[in-house]
């Protein structure tokens, strides 16, 4: 395997791309007990339209998440139990643009890695087990309906996006998951879980060559169909509507404001634009900004306030979220402050301080194995080696941040999603 050194971070990664296309990355961490592995596909809830070996497929909403649940099934076996017996904990999550399976252990690493690779590469679905899962996921959908932070985000996406599938809930609905059959799952598994669309990332005191050898062995007979995922959506720059309000059992009004950005693109340029967006959020409403202090002192925001840049293929947005008795006033203040920053420019000293601060935060997050695995995988699918972040951060120019604010933080690109407390019944 090829060893890459990152002296700035005091880190190294062993990289390889197997002949079948699977990427393997190992970050050695001597002196730690924990060992963690992420096995990830670059397919998430967005990717339900694709062509495979020349045939077009449109899968029901929620299929990626459903598949994630079902890969834990193996005939006559209890996978969580097997991990448990090895002293490991296993879990998985489905995002908009990736699905990850991971475990953390302190002993029996090889057996755990074998089990993880086996479980994800050997699908097994029956009508009966699909039927049972519809009940469990139905409960998960119900639980989400009572979660205000999920509702507020899903409302915001519906208000902002006309075409992009980020407007669909990751879990799907009770109706759409009812359309899922074993055949749908087998087709999607073949399309999404082909090796060239996946990465295996390991962090811990492990032997990189052993990891590579096992990955090679376990993916030897994986099928490698020709797949094109649909990732281009004709999305206008304007939002569908500028506000959406719901009511729920919450204590105070909650809000999320979104500003629609143009898609960032892939590779180093895409990441540069992402960091520009990140710093723009800090300059505009970060904790050391003029605006944050003013809104905080006026009681319009509280410590729950925060925001940043979010991006998945085909879309990017700047969001801010929190609790406030007057969300409209927060939105208006953000718009005005952006105008002011664009007119007056950003003080260079201020800008350097923010860069140093965000850089320090990213360096500290490397102490978390979870965060390291997650970011290496997520950025891999954007075509970027995550541990190069210090260089990219340092190259960000304040002028680019200013242009970003001028282009993005405008009322045409803005939507506001609010959850009001239910009126008390008299």
């Amino acid at each position: 395997m090829k060893q890459t050194l990152y002296p700035r971070l005091d880190e190294q990664i062993y990289w390889d791309k197997l002949p079948n296309g699977l990427t393997v990355a190992v970050v050695p961490r001597q002196g730690f007990s924990q060992k963690m592995a992420y096995f990830v596909t670059g397919t998430g809830s967005l990717h339900r339209e694709f062509s495979m070996d020349g045939k077009f497929y449109r899968a029901p909403m929620g299929v990626a998440h459903f598949l994630e649940h079902k890969l834990f099934d193996m005939p006559g076996r209890d996978i969580s139990g097997e991990f448990g017996a090895l002293g490991a904990s296993v879990n998985a999550f489905t995002g908009y643009d990736m699905t990850a399976y991971y475990f953390s252990c302190t002993e029996n690493f090889s057996q755990c890695l074998h089990l993880l690779l086996e479980m994800v590469t050997k699908p097994y679905f029956t009508a009966e087990s699909v039927d049972k899962e519809q009940g469990i996921i139905g409960q998960e959908i119900d639980m989400n309906e009572d979660a205000p932070e999920t509702r507020i985000f899903e409302d915001l996406m519906k208000a902002m996006y006309r075409e992009h599938p980020i407007r669909e809930p990751i879990l799907g609905t009770r109706q759409t998951i009812g359309e899922i059959t074993p055949q749908v799952l087998y087709d999607c598994h073949r399309a999404f879980y082909r090796p060239e669309n996946m990465i295996l990332c390991v962090v811990g005191d492990c032997d990189p060559e052993e990891v590579r050898a096992m990955a090679l062995e376990m993916t030897a007979d994986a099928s490698c169909p020709q797949v094109e995922k649909q990732e281009n959506w004709e999305e206008p720059a304007q939002c569908v509507s500028h506000s959406l309000t719901s009511s729920m059992e919450v204590a105070r009004p909650m809000f999320q404001i979104g500003f629609k950005c143009d898609p960032l693109g892939a590779g180093r340029e895409g990441i540069y634009r992402e960091f520009v967006g990140d710093l723009a959020a800090e300059v505009l409403f970060g904790e050391s900004s003029e605006l944050y202090l003013r809104l905080y002192e006026q009681g319009l925001i509280d410590p729950s306030f925060g925001g940043g840049l979010d991006t998945v293929p085909g879309m990017a947005m700047l969001t801010a979220t929190g609790d406030s008795d007057d969300p409209e006033a927060v939105r208006d203040a953000i718009l005005q402050q952006a105008e002011k920053l664009v007119a007056e420019g950003i003080a260079e000293e201020e800008f350097l301080r923010l860069k140093r601060s965000t850089l320090g935060g990213r360096i500290r997050s490397l102490d978390s194995f979870d965060s390291v695995c997650f970011r290496i995988c997520a950025y891999h699918f954007s075509g970027f080696d995550y541990f190069q972040f210090p260089e990219v951060y340092e190259s960000v120019k304040s002028e680019d941040v200013r242009s970003f604010l001028a282009q993005v933080v405008t009322s045409q690109r803005c939507s506001l999603s609010v959850i009001q407390p239910k009126e008390e019944e008299l």
Binding site: L9, E140, S304, I363
Partner: protein, 421 residues
């Protein structure tokens, strides 16, 4: 591995020197008895301190200073450990060797802590009214927002009813009425009292020797006029009687929260076996509750149990369809009954043991988990070392678990249900 230095009577610095991390941490906790009258004041205190100091008069100045220190964070930390409530700050900052051009981070961070604790921004000799009013609003909002997360809300409601006569029933952030009544003068006087009389626990994880930290941090406390008043010991559960409550809310999914009394606490020899029993029953995805009630019967989406060794209370929480509440409750009782009858497979026991051993081994893998384990351990009276703890986990047998399970009694139940049922 963990060193303890006494800086003054009632002021302890604990910690470890570890060069593996990019993050360092330093926490300062004032330890108080959990008391209905002052819980809200304790929760409010550090938030008010973090609003401004003489040198850094508002949050923007503070945050800018932190940005200069590579995004160091200083946050308010309020914990409940048995009968105690701790209030203070937790700082997380980048290890000096990752700073540019030989910049220092640790020294300025400790200097800032001194400024924060000893030189708060005052007006008319007490805390600024606008700071107190603003933070009161935020505290009230934090207390009331617990309702937003139905899982947290149901768990808190159960504790309120089950522990009506015990300090464990006092909410960690205090009661809204107490928070509303706080005024700048009262709060400032309270803070002075806290500085003077409280036990103070400090904790450090980073690359420097602990003696060096003691030197950096001691000046903060040598300036105080101290009259240390030791805390009363932790007390056993004070039972106010069994309760059963149901509340209606506009929710899609019902929440069931069950509270059990055990005879095992941190001070009894079966503390570790009880932890194992809790893990066998409801710890994660290999517990009996998850495997049988969720996986086999599909009755709910989430279900699990937790055990508080201070009071010997075990709770089970689950989310499910409103019509299924009774069935889930019966199934939970059945799983507990199975434990009493020794119906625990070797795999169930091994999985629980391995999971616990694995978490214990990982404590030393992050600064945050080191701080949390040892600083709360020091207060709860849990005196086991990690290796002794692990040894006891390995010794547990099914027979032992059955004996302990037989003493676990259902005490109280709280149900949150939709309005249409």
């Amino acid at each position: 591995m963990i060193q303890i230095l006494q800086l003054q009577p009632g002021i302890y610095l604990r910690g470890c020197t570890d060069t593996r991390f990019k993050t360092n941490c330093l926490s300062i906790q004032f330890v108080r008895s959990m008391d209905r009258q002052e819980a809200a004041a304790n929760a409010l205190m550090s938030a008010v301190l973090l609003r401004g100091t003489e040198k850094y008069p508002d949050i923007r100045d503070i945050t800018r200073h932190m940005d200069d220190l590579y995004g160091a964070t200083v946050g308010s930390l309020v914990r409940r450990v048995g009968d105690y409530q701790t209030t203070g700050v937790y700082c997380s900052f980048t290890e000096d060797r990752y700073a540019l051009g030989g910049d220092r981070i640790l020294e300025p961070v400790t200097a800032f802590l001194q400024e924060l604790l000893l030189h708060p921004r005052l007006e008319k000799g007490v805390f600024c009214e606008s700071f107190v009013e603003g933070e009161k609003r935020n505290l009230l909002s934090a207390i009331e927002s617990q309702k937003n997360d139905k899982r947290i809300y149901a768990a808190a409601q159960l504790m309120k009813y089950m522990c009506a006569q015990d300090p464990a029933g006092i909410p960690r952030l205090g009661e809204p009425e107490q928070a509303r009544a706080l005024e700048p003068g009262m709060l400032y006087d309270h803070y002075q009292k806290v500085l003077k009389h409280s036990r103070i626990d400090l904790f450090y994880v980073g690359s420097r020797p602990l003696e060096q930290i003691a030197q950096l941090i001691s000046p903060i406390f040598s300036q105080l006029e101290r009259d240390y008043q030791p805390l009363p010991g932790q007390t056993p559960f004070r039972d106010g009687g069994k309760t059963r409550n149901e509340q209606k809310m506009d929710v899609t999914q019902a929440r069931l929260q069950m509270g059990f009394l055990t005879e095992s606490t941190v001070n009894t020899p079966d503390f570790v076996p009880m932890q194992v029993l809790n893990t066998v029953l409801g710890g994660g995805m290999t517990g009996k509750l998850f495997m049988n009630i969720r996986e086999k019967q599909s009755l709910c989406y989430d279900i699990g149990s937790s055990y508080q060794g201070g009071k010997g209370i075990m709770t089970v929480g689950a989310g499910m369809d409103c019509k299924m509440v009774d069935r889930v409750e019966r199934s939970v009782m059945q799983e507990l009954e199975n434990c009493c009858n020794g119906i625990i497979t070797p795999l169930e026991l091994e999985s629980a043991q391995s999971a616990m051993l694995s978490s214990l081994r990982q404590i030393h893998d992050t600064p945050g988990s080191i701080e949390n384990f040892y600083s709360t351990g020091a207060l709860s009276g849990m005196e086991l070392s990690i290796s002794e703890y692990m040894h006891q986990v390995q010794q547990v047998t099914v027979e032992r678990l059955a004996e302990i399970a037989a003493k676990v009694q259902l005490h109280s139940v709280f149900v949150l249900k939709g309005e249409q049922v």
